[in-house]
């Protein structure tokens, strides 16, 4: 399989009043063609900022990509000029967001918003763009497409708006779709529809999807490959079945155990103690050490590197470090 997106050592920092937040800290990941890669993590893990960095949408001047490379089909996006990047955005890489209700412009009609990327990237005429826009509305499973094209966002439900967002995203046949928590704001029954649709489009067009979510259920349903992030770092990655069956990092293990599962009742849930560290107070260490049941001395002082442990499964944890005398 070809690599579509190859992120190497990406670091994105934010300057805040209290100090520098290393939101994304030396993150590498790869998305191959036709593959769904999920980034899982809790709030503050840096998963969304990673996606924003790929799109070049990190809010300057506070946020800044400070290092690494983002190769999209062999070309480093970080080296592109503003205009060149713009021709990639919405064209070869498209993105959908968490809040469909606020992600569409309230004063423009649905049709206009769908036509924009077609006219921008495909140089379509207004008429052709409108025709294609109406087709697209049909393709994402909305009936009465003409009528919907002429309506405003507030007239549609959240689920419909997310379909429209998907229609906008796939309008230029992107090679990569980045979906940032696309179903978090939606009800479960609508979530199921949207996930089905994303999978179908992937199958039909062969595009790759980088799916960002906090929901392990969604990951299990969608992903081919999973990247687990914690406090701006990748702590574990691997193919979905292997990772769910044999999680190696204590954080991944805890996360999987702490989620209640339907029809698998437990008396008490496992829970990871404590909370995510303050991003301003991080010192070189395993950032998970103060919540970890296996914390060793070395974990408090030295950062573990991401090492391959099994076929395509990598983990950043001192427990698996062969050189580590404590194991």
């Amino acid at each position: 399989m070809d690599t579509v997106l190859d992120i190497e050592h990406l670091s994105t920092h934010f300057n805040t009043e209290e100090g520098v937040v290393r939101a994304v800290d030396d993150v590498s990941l790869r998305v191959r063609q036709g593959e769904i890669v999920c980034i899982v993590g809790e709030s503050g893990s840096g998963k969304s900022i990673t996606a924003m960095s790929v799109m070049g949408l990190v809010e300057a001047p506070a946020g800044q990509v400070v290092g690494g490379s983002i190769a999209f089909r062999g070309e480093d996006l970080l080296k592109l000029g503003r205009n060149e990047l713009r021709t990639v955005r919405g064209n070869e890489i498209a993105m959908i967001f968490q809040e469909p209700m606020t992600s569409l412009n309230p004063v423009l009609r649905i049709g206009e918003q769908l036509m924009e990327p077609l006219m921008e990237h495909r140089k379509m005429s207004k008429k052709a763009a409108r025709k294609r826009a109406i087709e697209l509305i049909g393709e994402v499973g909305i009936s009465r497409a003409e009528q919907i094209a002429d309506s405003y966002p507030h007239e549609l439900s959240g689920g419909m708006l997310q379909r429209i967002m998907i229609a906008i995203a796939i309008s230029c046949d992107p090679k990569l779709l980045i979906a940032d928590e696309p179903t978090t704001a939606l009800d479960v029954t609508i979530q199921a529809q949207i996930l089905d649709m994303l999978r179908r489009f992937k199958e039909e067009s062969g595009m790759s999807i980088l799916l960002i979510t906090h929901d392990l259920g969604v990951v299990a349903e969608m992903a081919d490959y999973v990247v687990v992030m914690y406090a701006g770092k990748v702590v574990e990655e691997g193919e979905v079945v292997a990772l769910f069956e044999n999680p190696q990092h204590p954080y991944t293990q805890g996360l999987l155990k702490s989620k209640p599962i339907i029809n698998q009742r437990q008396d008490e849930l496992y829970s990871i103690p404590g909370q995510v560290p303050n991003p301003l107070e991080l010192v070189p260490s395993c950032y998970f050490h103060d919540r970890c049941a296996h914390c060793m001395d070395i974990c408090r002082t030295t950062e573990p590197a991401l090492k391959e442990t099994a076929n395509r499964q990598k983990v950043a944890c001192w427990l698996y470090e062969e050189a580590n005398p404590h194991v």
């Binding site: 799109m55 949408l57 503003r82 713009r86 021709t87 990639v88 955005r89 919405g90 064209n91 498209a94 993105m95 967001f97 809040e99 606020t102 992600s103 569409l104 412009n105 309230p106 004063v107 423009l108 924009e116 990327p117 921008e120 990237h121 405003y152 507030h154 967002m165 906008i168």
Partner: protein
Amino acid sequence: MSTYITKRILYMIIILFAASFLIFCLYALTPGDFITGNIKLTPERKAELREIYGLNKPVVERYAIWMKNAFHGDFGYSLSQQKPVLTLFNQYIWNSFLLAIVSTFLTWLIAVVVGVIAAYKQYSWFDTIVMVALFAAMSIPSFFIGLFLIKIMAVDWKWLPPGGMLTTGSTATGFAYVKEVVHHMMLPVMVMTLLGVGSLTRYFRSNMIDVIKQDYIRTARAKGLKERKVLFTHALRNALLPAITLVGFELPALFGGSLIIEKIFNWPGIGQLYMQSFGLRDYPLLMGFTLFIAILTVIGTLVSDILYHVADPRVRL
């Protein structure tokens, strides 16, 4: 929609009645009137005139008469000018309107352009300078800046005429007339624009800053649209929308502000007429003017409401 408007209009009428009564009482309360103040009249003549103008009747009765006449389009008779108030209004108001229209146009133009740029470059030095300049514009007493500019630009440098609408004794017609009026308008328009531009620009700037942070702007950028398009199609429309309501509020404010500006620049408008009549205690005129602004205020509020609902698709019918 129609029930709402009916309700609003009804409330508006009640408020107007109350306001008119209050206005009437205020002026009626003031001891001394045009006749008392006129030293040329004998006491007998004064009493006679009072009788004629109904000034010796009780306040409520005089109010009733005033209102009754007002409904017939008769807002009273100016004692000092010996003309019906309405005629005088018609004679002066268009001059005021000219100033108002031109300065409003300039104010909005400057406010939108500067507000958008400042918002886009938030926290830059340009933005900081603009902000301080806007505060300055909001902090000058209108009469003082008027006097100051007359002193500098008209008296010292002799660039512009110090006041009036035409040069004294001018008989210019046609294009020459227009030119002369424009020349005389410059200073008052400058001052009126300066006074209005501060709050309006700040309003646009903060609207625009809010809008730029919205999710749909991020979407527009993610679509790969040109930055110009993101700003002017996606952001500006949303930022301008709430400003539409201001149109209604601008109306009364403009004529209200004309009192000082027209007085300072000796501009033959309705505000100057008011100030003149004020010295002479010409109550029918004063009441007429005050009521006129009150009516504009009420109508302006209503218009704002309606405009807002017409313009925003989210609340449109």
